[in-house]
């Protein structure tokens, strides 16, 4: 009787302990479960579908039947043999390099300016930057479209008044180059605040006595920048550059809305627009999926470079 009771307590204690241990080990998994479940359903499943779709003939007809027709790698063959794809890829790379280069260089210059001005100028400039940063993309596009319209856009007026040239009723939307230049101006304008404020935050970490010591030693301003300042802000620059590359390579909203759907044609496609027009608007979802996969592979390749460099920097630091 007593023995039996003892065993029961022992048993239950052990069970309680085991249960408690299991429970404690399970807590983090239970906590992440909702996110994992949601992400699997809304992202995992579509990514799986992306792979399947790219191997299928899938148009509006198949969309209604909910059933594609397996055609192997035919979609990839179509895309890779399409001159438009290669031209678009090249154009997008040039566009990305120009946009990222300008945003990073100008953003860093603004940050360097921010540490040199008096506090009241700092407050004014930062407020203006944050205001620009806060502008929704679609709103910014409409404002730029209004400022650059050929009839009485204020940009044409200002450029003419500054004697930069005669821009009276100059049509910025006439050639592919000036269309994309305008989109670049918009993206750089909108992108500068994030870069400038991030780099400024990093610059405040640069010990000023280090800079002063270098200056006393007679180092020139650009030497001080490259030898003292740059190494300290390098990690931040790497992060914002990588993010800018990813954003600008996959950009859609600004070029699509600023150039305007009516003026979009294969001759001024960027990658995101190419995908949207060929895959979604033409309802050729199979081929669109193949384009998406190629685009994601390129982006992933760029991210790998970024991740590896980050790891390397981590090891050095």
């Amino acid at each position: 009787m007593a023995v039996a009771a003892e065993t029961t307590t022992k048993w239950s204690r052990r069970r309680r302990l085991t249960f408690g241990r299991v429970w404690r080990a399970a807590v983090p998994y239970l906590l992440v479960l909702p996110v994992i479940a949601l992400m699997t359903a809304i992202l995992g499943y579509p990514i799986y579908s992306l792979g399947r779709l790219s191997l299928e003939h899938y148009t509006l007809f198949e969309l209604i039947r909910h059933h594609g027709q397996y055609i192997g790698l035919h979609n990839f063959g179509l895309v890779l043999h399409d001159q438009v794809f290669w031209h678009t890829l090249f154009r997008t790379i040039v566009f990305t390099v120009a946009n990222v280069g300008l945003t990073i260089v100008l953003g860093t210059l603004v940050a360097l300016l921010l540490i040199r001005v008096s506090t009241w100028v700092q407050i004014i400039l930062t407020s203006c930057l944050v205001l620009v940063w806060a502008m929704p993309q679609v709103v910014a596009v409409q404002v730029w479209y209004w400022m650059t319209n050929f009839q009485n856009g204020v940009v044409n007026y200002i450029l003419t008044e500054l004697h930069i040239g005669n821009f009276f009723q100059h049509d910025w939307y006439a050639t592919t180059f000036s269309q994309l230049a305008l989109v670049t101006a918009l993206i750089v304008w909108a992108g500068i605040p994030f870069i400038a404020i991030s780099v400024y935050a990093a610059l405040t970490q640069v010990p000023s006595d280090l800079v002063e010591a270098a200056e006393i030693d007679g180092a020139r301003a650009w030497r001080v920048f490259f030898d003292v300042t740059l190494p300290i802000i390098k990690p931040v620059l790497l992060i914002v550059t990588s993010l800018s590359i990813l954003w600008d390579f996959g950009v859609f909203t600004q070029p699509y809305l600023l150039i305007g759907q009516a003026h979009i044609h294969p001759g001024n496609y960027l990658m995101g627009i190419y995908l949207f027009e060929e895959g979604y608007l033409k309802a050729d979802y199979g081929r669109g999926a193949a384009i998406s996969i190629l685009m994601l592979v390129i982006v992933a390749a760029m991210s790998v470079v970024y991740v590896r460099r980050m790891i390397k920097i981590g090891a050095e630091g």
Partner: protein, 277 residues
């Protein structure tokens, strides 16, 4: 000393000029929205209007579907933020406070997903949503918005939770609280500002989103405010710039106000997450 002061004055001048150039488009939007039509359509721009009008705002809010689209935007954004924050907060606690197998992979996935370009996912999302009859439905848009809101919220909240000194929580537990008690009484109040900032930021990104809404919602009565604004000029030849700028101002106002309130905190959350990773 004098040379130094001179240099400072020079930098200040450049700084103020730059501020003016950067903020000009925003100023031009707001000022156009308040200008009478003859000043807007004149070939010579009016820099400061002495006869402001609110007629364009009246026109903008009386265009078809404005209020419907405001309502749609609010529903989509609020539901997205509510779901994302609840699920993300739990996951963020797990990632910040527990060591468990698979933690590294989850963190890697969360960073990786945020690098995916949205445009690359429109085709499969559209096809999958069509299969489950979610096209032209607000619920379909909410689901797609969760794909970017969730990872962002998890990552940022994790940063905020990591920013709380562990000693505080331990002190509470020594005082006899349970882990849950310590969590509710110590962690939650400290992390509340972070929760607010993250929600607001998720609100802003969802409110501004364009491409997913564009592919999922084609029914005019089901669109969001960004779509309403993007279609504003439509195909009409006579372009009503005043109303367009009034509509733009109205679309931007909630975002700008919220953004100004939380900008600093979000920067902190992101850096805290990055530094203590």
């Amino acid at each position: 000393m004098s040379a130094r002061a001179l240099r400072k004055a020079g930098w200040n001048t450049v700084g103020v000029a730059l501020a003016l150039v950067m903020v000009f488009p925003v100023y031009w939007m707001v000022s156009t929205a308040f200008k009478p039509d003859d000043q807007i359509n004149s070939l010579t721009p009016t820099w400061f209007s002495s006869s402001p009008t609110i007629r364009h705002f009246h026109d903008a809010i009386h265009t078809p579907f404005f209020w419907t689209d405001v309502k749609n935007s609010l529903i989509i954004v609020l539901v997205t933020v509510a779901i994302a924050m609840t699920a993300a907060f739990l996951a963020a606690v797990a990632l910040a406070k527990y060591r468990f197998g698979g933690r590294g992979i989850i963190i890697l996935l969360i960073i990786g997903i945020q690098m995916l370009p949205g445009a690359g996912l429109i085709i499969p999302l559209f096809v999958v949503l069509a299969r489950y009859h979610q096209v032209d439905k607000l619920s379909g848009v909410i689901l797609t918005y969760l794909t970017f809101a969730l990872p962002f919220c998890v990552w940022t909240l994790r940063g905020f939770i990591l920013g709380i000194p562990k000693e505080l929580e331990e002190a509470a537990m020594v005082d006899g609280s349970t882990r849950l008690g310590a969590f509710v009484r110590i962690l939650l109040p400290l992390v509340a500002p972070g929760l607010v900032a993250t929600s607001v930021f998720a609100f802003i990104t969802s409110w501004n989103e364009y491409i997913f809404a564009r592919i999922i919602l084609s029914d005019q009565g089901k669109q969001t405010l960004t779509l309403w604004l993007s279609y504003f000029l439509g195909g009409s030849r006579h372009q009503d710039w005043g109303a367009l700028m009034a509509g733009s101002t109205l679309t931007a106002i909630p975002v700008v106000v919220f953004f100004l309130l939380i900008q600093r905190r979000i920067m902190f959350g992101l850096t805290a997450g990055a530094v203590k990773g």
